[in-house]
Every structure is written in structure tokens, then in C-alpha cells.
Subunit: 443 residues, 4 copies
């Protein structure tokens, strides 16, 4: 295991490079808001989600609090009460306005929040420009962390917005249809690729930026196994549904089955039965459409992913299997659909020469692993230690990134995590199975 707490070499670089990245990421967040009306910034459609305006403010609060005030000793650029409003969950920093109530606030206005963003930007810019060539590593590290934090919120901004629009019988459209021409052919493979086991190194160990939860890098013993060549498609998932997938308790974890019954789940989130019998439609950020059978299934919970895998005579991979398989690839890893592609929905590009396609991008892939600390895990020191570690219970790890993830945000060691019943993220799955265990499934 290597200790990484104090290693900042990855943060080295000129202020020009850092500032360039800062400007780009911050501008990207605002660009995502361009299609929106003022009203769209305000609504919170469930406790898990936040209003768009809150994301804009919170990401700025993060720079203000952890860079300007805490690290650089600058004075706040906002009303002290804003600190409470836009603190997410950092209890050691002060109290936080209750998360489920973020939608109760009509003020500050969108305009005031954008002004706040720009004041923060100005101060950060001044500081970075004043650094000359050599940026202090701690400053660079915190700014970099703040930018990755902001990129996480770019994805959340879109998924929260999608959830909110979906509540509206008017089915408002975030972006016009198009940008998502289904790929011509050859996707949706249901094959499995063999992966040799052994003692595998897991976790970030190349010295680049990563979150604290990706360390310490450590060894895990794995048996040989097989990993699905592609994410599971909507077409395959429709077969599961047609085979009574949502009516058979034997396919489900007990908690999952309880949820199916309590919530009346009959299909992935955002799916609805079309007027033609057997036809399914889904709500997307580009409007409602027919479910595309060749594209990865998305907006399924861990419970659904697990039940599908059981039905298919397979299982979900552990996060160590996933990461080891990805690192073992001989061909260069090519990514599937990501935020920059502006499709806003998984397409299943099936790119890549190697046997494993779309490992990165398209959909976050639920793994069989609970989100727990790695051996030797050490949270960041101070309040930033609350970033990840305190959520290490009751959640499952997801890997790979989605169609709403910025391409330069993820890594093979990246650990995303959500509770097993959540469906509003761009979550899907890839199967695994123990080597030699191929069986015909129950379908």
C-alpha cells in the first residue's frame, strides 16, 4: 500500500494550465444551463435531487470555502447566511440548510447566484494569475479537487433536471431531438470475455489526481472470471420483463422485492407503456421516444441489475473484477458516449478494438461491491475528509462513467456510489460470471 495523503506531485503544473482548466470547467457548467428558463433553476423534485441553481451556488461555495477562505485566508464574497444555504453536508464547516428543503427557497435569485459565481471566479483567477509559473501544490490540489467536484455536479445537474422535467405532464424538453443517431450496427453483444485472475492491484497508483476513496492501492486475489463484452441492452432487458422479471420474487434480493412491491416498479425509471401493446417509451433529456433495443438499458437500480443478472444466469462483477479487467485490456480503451458527445442518453457506440466495449461512458455500471473503505484508506484531512468517507455504508459501487460524465473526469479506479434503490442516475449494468460457469438462464 502506498500512502497518498501528502503526495501532491500530480497537482504540479503552471498556473496557466490550471487556470485554463478552471475556466473551461466553470464555463461548461454554465453552458449546461443555457437551454433553461429561470423557473427551471428553482424546482427540487425529490430529496435526492437539488435545484439547478443550488448546484451553481454550491460548486462556487466549495471554492469560496475551501480555497479562498480556508486555504488563502480571504474574506467571504457572499452573505454569511449563504454559507449555510449552499453547504451540502460538511458538518465541521457549519450548519447546512436541510437537503430536502432546498426547493423551498426562491432567493437568492438565479441572477444573484450567477453574480456570486462570477465573483468567486474573479478571486480564483486573481490568485492563480498571481502565482507565476509555480502554483503552490496545496492550492493546485484544492482547485483541482474543486473542479472534479464541479464535474460531479455537472452530471448531477443533468440527472436532477431530468427527474424534475419528467414529473411534468407537459414533458418539457431540455434539448431538441437528435444528436443521438443510433449507431448503425453490431452492438448489444451478449458475449463474455475471459479474464485471468491472480493477485491484482486495485486502486489509483499512477500518481495522478484521484479521490481519497480510490486509495490506498492494494492487492486483491481474484479467481479467473468472465466479463460481459457490452453493457446489457434495453432489448435484452425487455426479454427479462417479458419473462416476468418484475413478478418473480425468486429473482430478487429481499429488499429489492419489497421495493418492487412498494413502488410498483414494472420497468426502468422513465419508461412507460406505449399505446401499441408491447411498445415501451422512455423520457429522455431530448424528449420522449421509443425505447431503442440496441442501446444500453439505463435508469435501473442495483436491485434491478442484480435481478436481471440472476435471471440471465450470471452475476454482477465485483469492483475489483471490473477494474482488473479494464486494466488487463490489450487494446487501448476507447470510451463510449460521454457528456462531450451531447447525446444526453446512452447510445452504445460499441467502440474499441478489444473484447470489452463501452467500459467507460454510456452508463454507470452497478457492481456487486458495497462501497467500503479500501485497506489503508485515509480520508483527506480537515473538513474535506467529509467528502467521501462518511458515506461508506448502505451504498453500492458503480464504475465507468456515463453519457453525462465529462470525459476527463473519470479513471479506471474511479468509484461512484449510490444506494441500491436509486434509479435517477444514468445507471446500467454489465454481467460477469465465474469462469466455466456458463449455464442456460432461466428465461
Amino acid at each position: 500500500m502506498r500512502s497518498s495523503a501528502e503526495d501532491r506531485s500530480w497537482a504540479a503544473g503552471t498556473s496557466e494550465v490550471l487556470l485554463g482548466r478552471y475556466e473551461r470547467v466553470r464555463a461548461q457548467t454554465e453552458a449546461l444551463c443555457e437551454p433553461l428558463e429561470v423557473e427551471d433553476f428553482v424546482v427540487q423534485s425529490m430529496p435526492d435531487a437539488s435545484p439547478v441553481r443550488w448546484h451553481l451556488a454550491h460548486t462556487s461555495w466549495f471554492f469560496e470555502t475551501f480555497v479562498l477562505v480556508e486555504l488563502l485566508g480571504a474574506s467571504r464574497v457572499s452573505d454569511p447566511l449563504w454559507g449555510e444555504l449552499f453547504n451540502s453536508y460538511y458538518k465541521t464547516v457549519g450548519s447546512a440548510f436541510p437537503r430536502p428543503s432546498r426547493g423551498l427557497l426562491s432567493r437568492p435569485t438565479v441572477r444573484e447566484v450567477l453574480d456570486y459565481r462570477h465573483r468567486v471566479d474573479e478571486r480564483i483567477r486573481e490568485r492563480l494569475e498571481g502565482c507565476g509559473e509555480e502554483v503552490d501544490p496545496e492550492l493546485a490540489a484544492r482547485v483541482t479537487l474543486g473542479l472534479h467536484h464541479e464535474q460531479q455536479h455537472q452530471e448531477l445537474l443533468l440527472t436532477d433536471l431530468k427527474h424534475m422535467l419528467a414529473q411534468n405532464p407537459l414533458q418539457p424538453i431540455y434539448a431538441p431531438p437528435g444528436g443521438d443517431s443510433p449507431r448503425p450496427s453490431g452492438s448489444g453483444g451478449r458475449g463474455f470475455a475471459p479474464v485471468a485472475g491472480g493477485l491484482a492491484w486495485i486502486g489509483e497508483r499512477e500518481g495522478g489526481f484521484c479521490f481519497d476513496n480510490e486509495r490506498a492501492s492494494h492487492r486483491v486475489f481474484l479467481e479467473d472470471f468472465e466479463l460481459g463484452t457490452d453493457p446489457v441492452t434495453s432489448g435484452w432487458y425487455l426479454e427479462f420483463m417479458a419473462d416476468g422479471g418484475y413478478e418473480r420474487p425468486d429473482l430478487w434480493l429481499a429488499d429489492g422485492w419489497d421495493r418492487v412491491q412498494a413502488e410498483g416498479w414494472r420497468a426502468p425509471l422513465y419508461w412507460s407503456a406505449g399505446e401499441v401493446p408491447g411498445e415501451w417509451r422512455e423520457f429522455t433529456l431530448r424528449g420522449p421516444r421509443r425505447v431503442e433495443p440496441s442501446a444500453p438499458v439505463v435508469h435501473v437500480s442495483y436491485y434491478e441489475a442484480d435481478a436481471f443478472a440472476r435471471w440471465a444466469g450470471a452475476r454482477l462483477p465485483t469492483e475489483a473484477e471490473w477494474e482488473h479487467a479494464a486494466r488487463s485490456l490489450e487494446a487501448p480503451l476507447q470510451r463510449g458516449t460521454m457528456l462531450e458527445d451531447a447525446a444526453l442518453h446512452p447510445l452504445g457506440l460499441g467502440s474499441g478494438e478489444g473484447p470489452l466495449r463501452d467500459l467507460v461512458g454510456e452508463v454507470w455500471e452497478w457492481t456487486a461491491s458495497a462501497y467500503l473503505p479500501y485497506p489503508g484508506f485515509a480520508p483527506l484531512s480537515g473538513s474535506l475528509g467529509e467528502y467521501n468517507g462518511k458515506f461508506m455504508s448502505g451504498q453500492q459501487v458503480l464504475r465507468g462513467g456515463s453519457c453525462a460524465t465529462p470525459a476527463d473526469h473519470v479513471r479506471l479506479s474511479y468509484r461512484n456510489f449510490f444506494a441500491p434503490d436509486k434509479r435517477w442516475q444514468f445507471t446500467g449494468l454489465r454481467l460477469a460470471r465465474t469462469a466455466g460457469s456458463a449455464v442456460s438462464h432461466s428465461g
Copy 2:
């Protein structure tokens, strides 16, 4: 008893008069929105309240549905889905978007809703202008009903907005302080005026406009009683609080005491302890301020009003007592603070020559009467029959109007009603007691 279902004589009048009233009321609604930012129109702070934008749309939907489409056979001026979004509770008209979810909608935008209002206004204007001198009584009746409906929503718009602003730690101000100079002297009387009983006529019987729930006019036998000369003031209520009013179960109805415990009530809604011990502050539409002891106490529930009365050795009047006393007054009835005074908070003007002051205006006065049908009650025919009758369970009657009620909206027979635990309306109380029962109270 007189049947009123078909009597429309009160609706007689020239189209010019009716149109004048239409323009005035509709303009008043929009004028109330002038101080608002777009964001303020969107938020719903609790299931009881609605977003401002929803009030703007729903009142227009009312004219569109019950006047233009149902009565006049015109085509809709809005998307059919809007009918569902802005239907409040008229189940016989079609489905209604769930009330607690009104705050989940960011669209249609405020601009689109205002356009919708204006399209409805245009059509109504055309129809009324086309009537010549004699407006069809049914048309006049429905337009008049729609305008009274709109005035109810003017008050709700303000109380819902106040509740929403009060959730915000920034304590946004709807209107600047002022406009509410405390009256110079002589108010807050704690006296009682004798009222002679007998067989009293209750309910609307003068042939003017009224809601269906104010009829049939009927006789009620009343013993002699005494009615408080003024609404109970905040100063008096502070004595109740100081005497342990919120800590003594013997003062409360069982349901009320349960609520006190469950909600942690220690004072009226919007009150908070000031920094000086013993000082109380309250949030108003004109910002936070010190509680004014001489003004009527406001934002108390029926449970609190009832407990206060018991503490004071008195009781609340029945609605028949209230109405009979008001009708028995020799001096002309003068109103207290109402919407047109723009105080946005009860002042307690104590106007009027007679012994009973501020019967109308200032605060809605909780009565001891459950909201039940009068003998001979007949709801309006058709869908409009859902307006009042179906709410006749679980609520208490309030009388008199408040500082947020338009002056030409109420009558002595007017029956307002809310569930006994509600506090976000401008609700207060006036005491009564049985003749000759004066006793020293337990304080």
C-alpha cells in the same frame, strides 16, 4: 327558508359595470405580483400552499372552464394538459394534478401563464362587450363567481407567499417596512358587549351575491350572550404564553394538545424569541419586526384560539352569535385593516362608533362552529357544486375577513373555513361568553 339556487337578480347589471369589475379584480391580482422575482412564482412551501404562478393560472382556468367552455361553448385557449395542471379539485371536470406536487413544475413559465391570463381576459372581454346593456344572468352570475373566486386566491396568494418567504433564512421581504403605522391609541379593549338573544335569521337573505354555503337563510335560537369588543391582541396573548399557556394540557382540546407536542408549538406561527429575554419577534410580509402588543394576535390555529379562550375564562362565539351580533349593531359597521390598506398585517384600527370594533378586517376570527351545511343547503348545480359543499367536514368556520381580504369580497354572512390546526392564514380570535357568566380567569 328561501331557495336561492336559481335567483340571479343580484347578477343583473350592465355589461359595463360587470366588465369594470372584471378588469379591476384581474388587474389587482397581477398588481400583487409586482414586487416578485420570477423565482418567487415557482416555489410551493407545503402541501397546503400553492405557488404564486399556480394561483395566476388556476383563476384563469376557472374562467376558461366554467365561463368560456362550459357556459359559452367556446374552445379552450390553452393546451388540454393545462386543464389538468390548473384544476384544483373539480373531479367532475377531469383529473387534477396532485396538489402537493404543484411545486414540482417549472413549466409553463411565468411568462406563458401571464400570456394565458391575457388570452382569457381578451375572450371574456369580447363576450361581455358583445352583450350590450343586458348581460345574461347566468353569464353575469358565473363571471361574478369567478371574480369572488379570484379574490379568495388573492388572499391565498399572499398567505402562501408569506409562508414560502418565511422558510428562507434570508427572510426576504415582500414589501418594504412602513404602511403600517400603529394606530395612535385606545385599542385592544378587553371588554364584552351584551347581545340580546332570541330567534335570529342567519345566512344571506338580502338577495346579493353569496356563495352557496351562506344559504339557505334560516332561523337559529340564541340565548343572550356577550361578545368581545375587540379581537384579542398580541399583548393579551403574550400573557397567556407567560402563564404557561402552551404547557398546560388542561387548557387544550385533546387534538390541540397532541399538535402542540408534535409540532413543538410555543407561540403563534412566524413568532420567534428575540435576543432580549421575553422579547418576541414576528415575520411579516414587510419583514421581521417586534411583536406589537396592541395589534390583534394573528396566525393562531383554532386549537390555540380555543385554549386562549378557556384560559381567559371565556369561549369562542358560534358563527350564529357572531353574525347575529354584527347584524344587531346600531352604529354603521366600519371595517378594520383590509387588503386595500396595503398594511399586509393586522393593525387593529379600532374604528367604528359602536361597541364592537374590527368585526370585519384585521384577522379572520375562529368561531366555535364546525363548518357544516345550513338547513336547506343546496350546492350549485353541476361541477360548481364542488366549490364548497364537499369540504363540510373536519373544518371550523371563520368570520369577518382579514388584512389580506379585498374589502368588497366579504359579507356578514361570509363563511370562511379551515382545518383547526392551520395557522398560515391571517387568523385570530374574538371572545364570547354566556350572559352573566363573567368569571375571573385562571391567569
Copy 3:
């Protein structure tokens, strides 16, 4: 109005008479428990209900607390903690174990509770025997109150027990079938009898025992009206159901309709669809059986009673109308099925010469009146003042008594009360209508 607070003349009588009544009522409670197994005494099937053992203990606690300790200054005969366990809601007496948790207690055992009852009985007996001819009026009044209190709990014991047994898929039987032979003929009339209005005296004024809520006796002005000759039968109610009664929101109060939807009500409580289409079965204390069309419908809520009345083109009577009609009867009032008949279910005996049958007994009849204080109401002094007055919100009055009410417990002025959604009591209805308003109903 007459003040009754201090009038105890009704309590006059020899100790022998009082003791005789004491022995009889107390023995009756235990007789009701004879068919039970120990396990049956323990279970609480919902927060509204209490375990049988709790009823046995609480009624004894009542005598211990209000007669032995408070009035006579005797020492407790039970552990001080029992005082908390068996206090129902008298907050001025001390804390009470939470009502919804009464079923969490396995101790004291049934045997211990019966011993406690008998210790209390012994002390009461000693005191009454020691009085000689003249019992102190306050002692006589409290013992009498305690016995009426116990009779109320006899009925609750049966209804709570029935609810508990009904949860059990084994459908245990309290008493064997029989004892309830349907009456031979002639019942279930759907007629209306005219009643002359005027200024009617309502409330107890003959000087007998009554609860505080039946006073002060006072005058109410009533228009002429008509009252249903019989309780509404199950057969008539089945027509309401067949006509879509549970599917038409226009028939329901808003709160009622919400409840229908939330609880999935499709029939009275304890009814279930039989195997033959259209057949309905009901669970009774004598086991499951086919619904008898000629018997009064029972286990309906106020909401259902109100909806049925609206469907039938009628309404529910006010409690003043009910009482005035009963007092106006020329023929002697004969009672329907009551506890002593051991039918344990309404039969609809249709006895009585007069036009109104089964006014007393069979089913409690929901009235259109909210449970509110009468003019001049004065609660009992001291802790016993909590007996009735503090429940005067959110409930409806029921009149007449049921098949589970002891015959010497009710009076024409007797006011029972339950929240409008409750169905586990033996509750039914009788229609009323305004004179001359006969219309064909919507069925």
C-alpha cells in the same frame, strides 16, 4: 338553561340499590370475557383499540383513582406504576402509557389484573356497605359515573375484540353462531315519518344521570323535517354499492373520498366478496356469514353514511332533529337489539308501534352534527372534567346505542362521538330530509 353541575338528586338512593348495580355491571364485564383464552386479552390490533385486559384494568383504575383515592382518601391497592399503565388520558392525574403501545405489555398478567379488579371491588363494597341507607351524593355520583364508564368499555371491549379477531386469517369465533335468528318479516322500511319543527328542548333535563356533555339543556329551532322510519339496511346499502357508490367522487365529502382512495374502501368494514359473484360476506362475533339484506347496515364510517344519504337523495339528521323526533313519539319507545339480547350483531327487530323503529339499539346512528359543546356546557370539575369536553373537535355525534350497548346505559339525550373515518364500532345510519323535499334519488 339549567345548571346541573352540582345537582346530584339523581344519585340519591340506598346503598343497597347502588351496590346491586355495582355488582351487576362489574360482573357483566367479566362475563363478557368468559369465552376468551388468555392470549385474547393481550393483543391490540390498532391504536384506536385496546387489549381486553387493558379494559379490565382501566375500568378498575377508574374506581380506584376517582372514588377510592381521590374522593375517599384511601391508599392505592395497586403498584404506583399501574396507575400510569391504566390511565387512559387524564393528564391532570399523571402521565399515561402511550395508547398505541398498550399491546406491547405482557404484564401484569390477566390473573393479576383480575385480582386487582377484585381488590378494588372489595374496597368499594366495604365503603358502600358502610354507608347505611343514605349514600353520600358525591360518592353515589362517582360510583354511578364509574359504572356508566364501565358500560362504555363493555361495548369497546367487544368492538376492539372483534377488530382483533378479524385480523386473524383463522377467523376465530367469539361466540357460536345462533342467537341472532333473523326476524320473521316486515322490516327494512324505507319510509319517512314527518316531524313537526319549532323550538325544541335538547339535552338532558329530567334530572337523571347523564354525562356532562348532555347539558345544559337548551332550545334549538327546527324547521319541519322527515326522519327515516328505520335504520338503513344492508340490502339498501348493497344497491348503493351496485350503483357505483364507492367509485363516484361526486357523492362524497372530499375527506371521505380521499379516505376511500387511500384505504381502498369498497364496502363496509368486515365485508368481503364471497365466492359467488355479487355475494357479500361479513365477519361477526359469531363468525363469518352471508350479509343479511334485511338487517341494518353496520360498520360504516360517517363518510360512507353521508355518501349513502346523498346518493339516496336525502341527508343525515342533525342530533337535535334526532332527539326531538325521538321525544315527539306518541307510542312508547321500544328498543332494538342491545347487549342483553346477546345477538352481538344488529338484527333489525323493527319493534315498536310508532312510526320510528329501532331508534335505540341495533346500530349507533351517525348524525350530521359535529361533536361540540352545548350552550352552557360546563365540564365536571377536577380531573373528571377531562372525561368528555376535551374531545370536542374533529368528531361527529352518534345517537341511539347499538347491539353492543347495555340497555340501561343509554338515554335519548346520550351523545356518542367518533371521528368521521372510524368504522370499527357498530355504526350505521338513518336518513332524514327536509319536509317536502322528497326527490327520486340518483340510483
Copy 4:
């Protein structure tokens, strides 16, 4: 990995041996009920717990269903409805009466349930006696599974009973004080013992009986680590409490802190502040007593265990670390207090020569591992596959057994599991830390 699904060699044995074990285990269950009153068998104090009578019936239902009926083709010995009442969660066997409602049933009576037990016993006895020397391995396997199942319910019977008794202000005692003399000395060590890492075999691989979740046996790579020599004591836990353990969010997982706030946790379950400041008392099956500082702390949730470990500058061990350490011990493993010791509470005997004491017995030790399938996990075939696998989400693994666990029930590979917020089991903790990471803790 070794497949174990069909290996029944561990079940070999004469019918005499098996029957002996059957008689012993079944009798033990009834012996646990000897101190109880009939009333104690009926109550369910929370949805997690079941009435004692239900445990008696369910364990018999298990033999009836999976041995007599399913395996041997015998006819049921109970009413078919009992099958529904006493099915816990085997959805493939039929419907199950809702778990939270088990306390609503007063029937069948305790006597009837005991008769049922004895009928089942008789049939099983007949079958085993009829086997001769060689018992069919599948029969032996199912009977053995049924006995281990029954032993699990022996522990649950006691913990559920304890929870129920603790709700009662009378604080009833299951067994008289005594039987639990605190050990004379030398316990409560706070040391750590080094354990060498490497590639460790985890899971059952010795061919004895185990649950399906203990297989497949597989290799896990472990770094060197240190394991606490003893379970954490109440005395040590009191230091955590005194140091603000329940007031410092930085010590807690986010979910744990939410629970602390929501439930008002300030100490382990069943602890209450004594009358002397600083003194803590706890409710035990032998009555209330002062907390014994030298005994293992018990009735803490995973959240509390985790927070304590963080406060102490350590962490919880993974289940692989725990099992590997236990298997690495040179000295023979000696057990701490278990069910047979009849202490009914952890004493902390500190027996054993080796460096690790009380690994088995005393308290179930929370581990840092989520309850997930082992590599190669294959659930039992048929309905018995529901036994364990479907609970593999949202729970943490506990190891070692407790003072309420039968001594011949557990193994070093035994995986117990509960949700992280549960506290009513005899759950405690043992610390671990990464080799060389010793730091002074925050206390």
C-alpha cells in the same frame, strides 16, 4: 473453490445420533420458555421482533414444510392456514402473513402451538427411528439444517423477548439476578495482537455442516494487521460517551449520524442514566443493573461500533481478517459466555491462553464487511435457497456468537448479519488496525 452444494458427507451418521441431537435442541427451545407466562408468548414489540409463540411455531413449520411434506411427502399435521401464519419469508412456498402483524394474532393459543410442536416431533421421531443405522443424507442434511435454524431462533427468542420486556415500565424479569458473577480480574484488555497477512483461505472447507453463505471457500489477500485482544468493554465505551462520542458528527458515518439525531441515541440500547450523575444502568434478562465496566459493551449498532473505532484511532476488522486471525491462533480457541452458561448477558470471561480472547461467545462482533456472496456462492436449491442469499444487501457481517448463542451452533466461518442500525441483538465489537498504524486516539 470447492463446490459444496451436493456434498452431504457431513450429514452422515446414525439415526440415533441425529435423533439425540433433535431431541436435545427441540427440548432446549421449550426450556427457554419455562419462566414465561402465557401472556409473554403473544406480544410483538417491533416489526423486527416476533412473539415467542411465533418462534415456537415457525421452527416447527420449518420441519413440517421442508422435511415432512417437501422431502418425505407426508401430509401436513396442521391447518393449511397455519402454513401462511408461520411461514417467515419463503415466497416460493406460498404467501406469508405480514411480519409486522405477527403480534395481532391471539390464536392459535400457546397450548395449540405446543401441541403442534409435539405432533411434528412425533412424526420426525418416527421417520428417524425408521431409518435404521443409515440415515438418508438428504434427510439428515435437512434435519440438521432445521436444528441449526431452530438454534438461531433460540437466540432470537431471547433477544425479542428482552426487547418486549424492556418496553414495560414494570421491567419484568425473565430470570432472577445472579448466574453472572463478574469475573475476578484481568479482563478488558485494550491491547492489539499482530496477525500476519498473506493469501488466506476463508469460508468453510472442513466438510462439516455450514450454511450456504459460508461457501465457496476461497482465497483473500490480506496485509499484515493487528486485532484487538478483547471485545471492547463498557468501561471503554463510557470513555467514548464521556468524550462526546454521541455529539461529534466527525466520528460517524453519515447514515449513522442521521440515526443518532433521529432516534436520540445517547448510549447503547437498554442503557439509562442512573440517579447518581454519571452512573449508567442497563436492562438485562435478569433485571436492571448497574453497567459493569469490565464486561463487553453490548447492544450497539454497527454505526456505534464504527464511530467508537474511529474515536479510538482504530477500525473494525473485515470478516476475512477476523476469520484468518481466529484460524491462525496457536493456542486452542476457548469460548466466552454462551447460551449454556445461562448468564444471559456478556461477562467477558477472558478465557483462553492465546492472545485473542472471547472471539467466540460474549457478543457478536460487528465487522467492516458488508454481507455479500462469497465468490462461487451457490444458494441451496429449491425454496431453501431463500434461507440466506436474498438478504445479501444492506447488512453487515457479524462474527463469533454471543452469550445467547448455543455453543454447538457457531463456527469460525459462521456469518451472522444484521442491518447497521440494529441494536437489539447481543452485538458488540472488537477493534483492528493496520500493522504499524498505532496512533493516539482523539480522546
